[in-house]
């Protein structure tokens, strides 16, 4: 199957109009010495055969495990209406809405999505999406560098190691100095941040809840950061914003995050959704496409891509970012998901996550040898201290049907016995109790 419509007769007609005798003649501009040295690919297969093969591969993945793994990527329920609406091909087979008159559906949806992100973070303006939470954080860091003209960035080590690694990779040729500050008793160490904070600092980056699951009120840090003329940047988990203090309420200049939890499947790491929201005074340094409302010739409201002079297709090497394709369809899913939950449902979702995690803490605490780290409050993820190596324990839990959590030793030196456990609204009381019993058994064996 090749999805080509031309018949042999039509091809001949077209070649005649072009004035050549064969399709191959159209390629004579490619000299024979530049033709492929090999093109050794399998021949095509029917739709049925390809589907059956891929179904076989899908079945080799273990998705029947009861999931307690989070680490920034969460197993939330996705309402059927999200899939149904995002599967409308008038949405998913369109492209970037360059021509507003025939793209009003997309443009209005992005305008609504921008509003949702502003509402969740409390900040003034957002864009049409970035790739993921990590690239969004990198874009925020570079915004801070451009806005302040400074090159030193303080990063709290409670920020996901995945994101920190991405930050360092992207900036490896840019002479940007990163200082990592420690997490003490679960939360950011103020003393250490203040020790490094100075007039050369472009930004301080923190995460809420942090990688250990701890929530914080960063208002004091943000205030101090501003006295040095630096920017405060937060990477946040959007579902937690149904309960936790918003970035705006803490005074942050820029908030970013991973939008996967807003109606996107885990899908083995992507496609995901990077979101960003900033104070309006920073708007012109914000990367990515932005939709604005305006009117047409008859004074009727309509939507267009705006402030395009910041972007690569106009500004080229002087653009704020190189981003072109974004994650619009993922942003649409997030918009539909948050619209379905609505103001009340979104708060209820956060409450369920918090309460289930608190129940899990209380239940797991009763397992012999297990300690729940309680030095800081948490949202829906928390840290356990185990009497054994967490990697081994998780391996044993797999055979009992659980993806039992993320062993922190993978990302943090000296934390080999620590396990990060996430509990979403999908986990039932029975599953949590069963999880505790299985953990007890795994620790005994």
């Amino acid at each position: 199957m090749n999805y080509i419509a031309h018949t042999e007769i039509e091809k001949k007609e077209m070649l005649k109009v072009i004035g050549v005798s064969s399709v191959e003649e159209l390629f004579k501009c490619i000299p024979s010495n530049l033709r492929p040295k090999s093109f050794n690919l399998p021949e095509g297969k029917s739709e049925f055969e390809v589907f059956e093969y891929l179904k076989l591969l899908a079945n080799q993945n273990a998705t029947q495990l009861t999931n307690f793994v989070g680490g920034g990527f969460y197993d939330h329920y996705i309402p059927a209406a999200v899939d149904a609406l995002a599967s409308r091909s008038e949405f998913y087979t369109a492209y970037t809405p360059y021509q507003p008159e025939c793209s009003q559906g997309w443009l209005q949806a992005i305008y609504e999505y921008q509003t949702i992100i502003c509402e969740l973070t409390g900040l003034d303006v957002s864009n049409a999406s970035l790739y993921d939470g990590g690239t969004a954080l990198y874009e925020a860091a570079m915004m801070a560098v451009r806005l302040t003209g400074r090159k030193k960035i303080i990063v709290d080590s409670g920020v996901s190691l995945i994101y920190r690694t991405m930050l360092y990779a992207y900036t490896s040729n840019l002479a940007i100095e990163f200082v990592e500050t420690p997490v003490v008793h679960g939360q950011s160490c103020r003393e250490d941040i203040y020790k490094h904070l100075d007039a050369k600092t472009a930004a301080v980056i923190v995460q809420n809840p942090n990688f250990f699951g701890a929530v914080d009120d960063f208002s004091d840090i943000v205030e101090r950061v501003h006295t040095f003329g630096a920017l405060a940047v937060a990477s946040v988990y959007p579902v937690s914003l149904g309960m936790l203090k918003s970035p705006q309420e803490m005074g942050f200049d820029i908030a970013t995050g991973e939008g996967q939890s807003l109606g996107l499947p885990l899908s083995f790491g992507g496609p995901y959704l990077g979101f960003i929201a900033v104070k309006k005074e920073h708007l012109r340094q914000m990367p990515g496409r932005i939709v604005g409302a305006t009117v047409d010739k008859d004074n009727k409201r309509g939507f267009v891509l705006t402030l395009q002079a910041r972007e690569q297709h106009i500004r080229r090497e002087r653009a704020t970012s190189n981003i072109c394709s974004n994650e619009a369809l993922c942003a649409l899913r997030a918009l539909i998901y948050t619209s379905l939950l609505g103001k009340t449902g979104f708060q209820e979702l956060a409450r369920l996550n918090y309460q289930k995690a608190e129940f899990a803490k209380a239940t797991l605490e009763k397992v012999k040898g297990v300690k729940v780290k309680r030095s800081a409050p948490t949202f829906n993820e928390f840290t356990l201290e185990l009497p054994k190596n967490a990697d081994e324990v998780v391996l044993r839990m797999i055979s009992k049907g659980f993806a039992g959590g993320f062993p922190l030793g993978r990302f943090y030196k000296g934390l080999d016995n620590y396990l990060l456990v996430a509990v979403t609204e999908k986990r039932t009381k029975e599953e949590i109790v069963h999880f505790a019993n299985s953990l007890e058994a795994a620790l005994c064996s």
Partner: protein
Amino acid sequence: MQLIFEKSRPGRLGFSLPQLDVLPAVCLPEKYCRQTAAQLPEVSELDVVRHFSNLSRLNFSVDTNFYPLGSCTMKYNPKFTEKVAALSGFSDLHPLLPQLWGGGMLAQGSLEVLYNMERLLSEITGMAAFTLQPLAGAHGELTGVMLIAAYHKANGEKRKHIIIPDSSHGTNPASAAIAGYTVVVIPTDSEGALDMALYKKALNSETAAVMLTCPDTLGLFNPKIKEIADLAHGVGALMYYDGANLNAIMGKCRPGDLGFDVVHLNLHKTFATPHGGGGPGAGPVGVSEKLVDFLPISRVIRRPDGTFALDYHKRKSIGYIAPFYGNFGVILKAYAYILALGKSGLMEASENAVLSANYCLARLKDHYVVGYDRICMHECVLSAARQLEHGVHALDIAKYLIDQGFHPPTIYFPMIVKEALMIEPTETENKETLDAFIEAMICAAQLSESDPDALHRAPSQMPIKRLDETKAARQLDLRWISKK
């Protein structure tokens, strides 16, 4: 249409969440809690379904309209690949699972997809290895430039600039600049190719790389491509291939054989994954042998026993580019497409894409100025310069086409062509559609002489007329705010 927020009514609910089945614990201390709830809409499920169903109908899309948007390869997106990506074995898989001890065995199916896809793309492009991590074309460009920087650094060199033709995509200079390079722009000569004299002059031991699109954005294949590559290699620079236009050349030539060292592909273009209203895409990057060690981690490996695993122990790697293994859902759809088409299918795709573009060019070249009157590849670039004499711009022609039910071609790009109209019909459109589009283009050319105002007034058949973009930029309204 009203915004979803304007349809909100206090107290209306559209959600279905499980009841709390555990005894409630003490609330979080107030200092950690938000004071003002996010003002999300309060609507029923039907309100949401009707709102987004009706919004979708305001879009042109490949499934509803011919969409010859040049450089974007808006070909048909096969439906079965959507069904593949929705299989729960793929869509519900947590990306951290294979990073647990013994966890690789929990993700063998997905790891096999990644492993096989890397090899298929390597063979299609003639490269030694691929990373599937980059999340879009421009993200692939940035990855590629970072690989180039790492390569020079490992050789103890810090080269300063990257050479890019003036006809390039805007992402090329932007990617080079944000990775820390200065950009040297080379003009296009009268034949539509890189100006060789100026190129040779710019090339020196400070050149880190030469970034090219081939065929270029004028839709032309540069027969001197090997010479360009040899000259770059002669001064120790690397060759970067922007794969946006790969749909022209599958099975006809391979970037690796042409002398390119780094290649990015846009899976959402050549390999038919949907463009999603702007994304998600995927921008895998292929490299020649000398750059393999620098590829992002993790790498997918095949163990001697045939199982698949992730390898993070690559000392020279540039690190993580994406949080995990790329836009897996997109990669999966592209993999299914390649398996369905196979060797002959991919070659036929390119042949028919080139045939369709040349057919459009042949039928339109008497009505529009053609910058470079040669056989084109998968797209053709026309100019509305003749229409401009009557006060009609490329933009006016685009708006007229909307009224006729066609998504317009890319306009005003490449920037080096005055009033450019860049048409990429793709191989999946039938001849009747091409003919109808061509007739509409001819009609627009005739109207520009007989009734230019008819074009200035367009579109008139859409739910809205032309929008005031100046007002949008000056009186910024970027989000809804409650009037209450």
